[in-house]
Symmetry: C2
Subunit: 451 residues, 2 copies
């Protein structure tokens, strides 16, 4: 039996994050203020500390990971790289399948990679409190843990319907010391406005973002933290791909295809970007982002300037978007229900350097179930999107006989998502692709800014 | 900062389990049939396959781990040994605290170590189906996964109240392909008898065991699997302590105190036994079993012959017991709510070679919370018992200035137990020590067999 677990010891933990901007063919398009002019750093500094803003606009290839961040990373990093031999055998594919397992973090996903960094840089800049939003709770729990590690108060605006339906995630945040507020709340003007018109509002990620941003703007001691989309978030996540690169070197392998699920883009960017440098230098490697058919940003969205939240409070970013008012159906992969995408991932996709595919919900659970029954680990619903694409590529190899090396990130375990598996097993899960009219209608509301 | 993560690669996975019987001062007391005579192997073979029975009575020091079992172990083993530096700092103790993290298994606990072995030996012996019982679901999920890996059907009788309250664990078992039946059920005579007298019975572990055993006895193609207590189960779990020993060798350390929570004894035995050989050879090392005050088997039970289930279907075993009819209160550490204990652990405790301490529920969650907020990982409620004792020992070292090395097993993560943390944080958790009269009354019903 071949080696199935490729480990790094803690001395091999990366010392720098990789900034893909240094190797992109064109510089990133700048974020714009609502007036269509490039946003000022001053405007950003109301919600982010200076070191984070520096990273957001940096063009340096390597950014040092501060020692206090590495000390927390070491609680679970480097994470293992696995070869999925049992899945290969079940598929009868000549392909070799590898996965990086981020579910070993205390929060059970890749989110702490940036949460810890953001908490550290905020502490360094004198921030006392952080606000953020969370839907299903993956990001909120990661920031709760990170805040606790650096002595910051954390307030999480949690979409009310999730607050009611996911008490485990809520308790997890509280166990790490965070305050969790169901959103819409009476704590902010934005929340009060929603409650005035609909006291029973179930909330949305868009409203929760607006509440968290409003509070960060209003309070001098408080900053805002975001779990995906922005350049600095993807930067912090590159620790995943950097470790994987070292792990492949140890076994003299190099992936032909790199796969990750893609919502806001932090898992995909963190996985794929460290291999992008090689691609930019001419290496043959495919980078494949996988998204849900019900929220097909890269595959059916428009490459245009749009805001990051539904209320339009954030700067405008050039990205693939379905329109900030696009509301995807309630699929179980809550982390992939975002109307836009990372501007960096979007730009690379626009330039043909990153591929994208959209997959339907039921097929993702079929893939996740096959994975659980061969490899043991039960993946999060988001991760099942990547696994679907990996299995499809592996089956294609079976047809052609090509022994390709396929690598993906298992971004989190599914222990908080068992009800989704239950529904799948009971035949109650639906596929929900969006009709063109719905997407076109949302796109028609895009701000009028030249892309 | 010192090294905090001590890893083994998969080539260092143990090749043999360690059988503590070989180093015990006296041979284990034999299990007895209901007539008070030693049980026949014939009687055991109705529910267990031959290789398991051989292990149950073996006196060989080393038992080979078959290659197919090691192949599955490699999906998550060897598990990491961590130094809890941040907890040490928070406590201000000169003690060095180490923990073995078993929560990285796909089921989130140490239970798969024996589930995989039992599934393999059953497959080897031609078993087609396995039955078992589960309370909170840790053991049932482990066996579901293991059965799937070796192509065995698995039927889990799940205590009805847990079946209703823990749908996530139920879905987890079904995701791995097991059939989960709420107990009492109409599938067995035993279940039907209970339902006849109480159609709304919430069930109990005792009833569920009886149902699983009855079905295994009745069907030729079916055997029974148990998740703790018996010698072969503790044997399989020694992979934990064996790995830990190697890991301590790598850093030139040796523990002064070894701590594990103890319900049926498999986590404690698996952790401590591989160090027992050194103790038997004269080495100074304390082995400390930690149990709940609400089910104080080792600390307040009687060392006597008793049956393993409440219906009295199993053989009689010489063990510390509170009486098979003792019903502990509904504490959240479901895995520690067993009226008896492993006969091997019991005998070593009786001979003064294993220490035991009982701790109250609230103090265990206080310890677990401090652990989560320093080390990140949120432990299972069972594990919090060990952490309570570790913190107490570390604080004692702070008083005396002794830099002791303390080692414990973090037997599982708490991601399925967040409601317990929620109740603790809300001040709703109770301590529930049992009055002497209740224990004496249960003990008065012990079978009349000479110990």
């Amino acid at each position: 039996m071949p080696q199935i677990k490729i480990l790094l010891d803690e001395t091999e933990l990366p010392t720098h994050w990789y900034n893909v901007v240094a190797d992109m063919p064109r510089p990133p398009a700048p974020p714009l203020a609502q007036d269509g002019k490039p946003i000022s750093l001053q405007a950003l500094s109301v919600i982010f500390p200076a070191p984070i803003i520096e990273q957001e606009i940096s063009r340096a290839r390597w950014i040092p990971i501060p020692e206090p961040v590495r000390e927390i990373y070491r609680l679970w990093r480097p994470t293992p790289l696995y070869r999925a031999v049992r899945l290969e055998q079940a598929l009868g594919t000549p392909a070799r399948l590898y996965y990086k397992y981020e579910g070993v973090s205390p929060a059970g996903s890749h989110k702490p990679n940036t949460a810890v960094a953001q908490a550290y840089f905020n502490q360094l800049a004198g921030t006392r409190r952080l606000t953020t939003e969370t839907g299903a709770g993956q990001w909120g729990s990661a920031l709760a843990m990170a805040g606790q590690m650096f002595g910051l108060e954390v307030r999480v605006y949690m979409v009310r319907v999730s607050w009611e339906q996911k008490p485990s995630r809520r308790s997890m945040m509280e166990t790490w010391g965070a305050e969790v507020i169901p959103s819409p709340s009476s704590e902010t003007n934005c929340g009060r406005r929603v409650l005035d018109s609909d006291p029973d509002s179930p909330g949305s990620l868009g409203i929760a973002i607006s509440e968290a941003v409003e509070e960060a703007v209003a309070r001098d001691d408080t900053h805002y933290a975001l779990g995906s989309v922005l350049n600095h978030v993807l930067l912090h996540q590159t620790v995943i791909g950097l470790e994987a690169r070292k792990q492949f070197e140890k076994i003299n392998e190099y992936p032909d295809i790199i796969v990750a699920c893609c919502g806001g883009g932090s898992n995909f960017g963190g996985t794929a970007f460290p291999f992008f440098a090689d691609k930019a230098a001419g290496r043959q490697v495919r980078l494949l982002a996988v998204e849900p058919e019900s929220c097909p940003t890269l595959t059916r969205g428009r490459y245009a300037y749009d805001s990051g939240d539904s209320a339009g409070l954030t700067p405008l970013m050039l990205m693939y978007t379905l329109g900030r008012n696009f509301v995807p159906p309630r699929i179980h992969a809550g982390g992939l229900r975002y109307h836009g995408d990372s501007p960096l991932v979007s730009q690379l996709h626009h330039e043909g350097l990153v591929e994208a595919v959209a997959v339907p919900q039921r097929a993702t659970f079929e893939a996740g179930l096959q994975f659980a029954r061969t490899e043991g680990i039960i993946p999060a619903p988001e991760t099942n999107h990547a696994i679907r694409a990996v299995i499809d590529e592996a089956l294609a190899c079976k047809q052609t006989g090509e022994p390709k090396t396929i690598f993906f990130t298992l971004s989190g375990h599914g222990h908080f998502d068992m009800s989704a598996y239950e529904r799948y097993l009971a035949g109650q899960l639906e596929d929900a692709a969006y009709p063109d009219e719905a997407i076109n209608s949302a796109l028609a509301q895009l701000p009028k800014v030249a892309s």
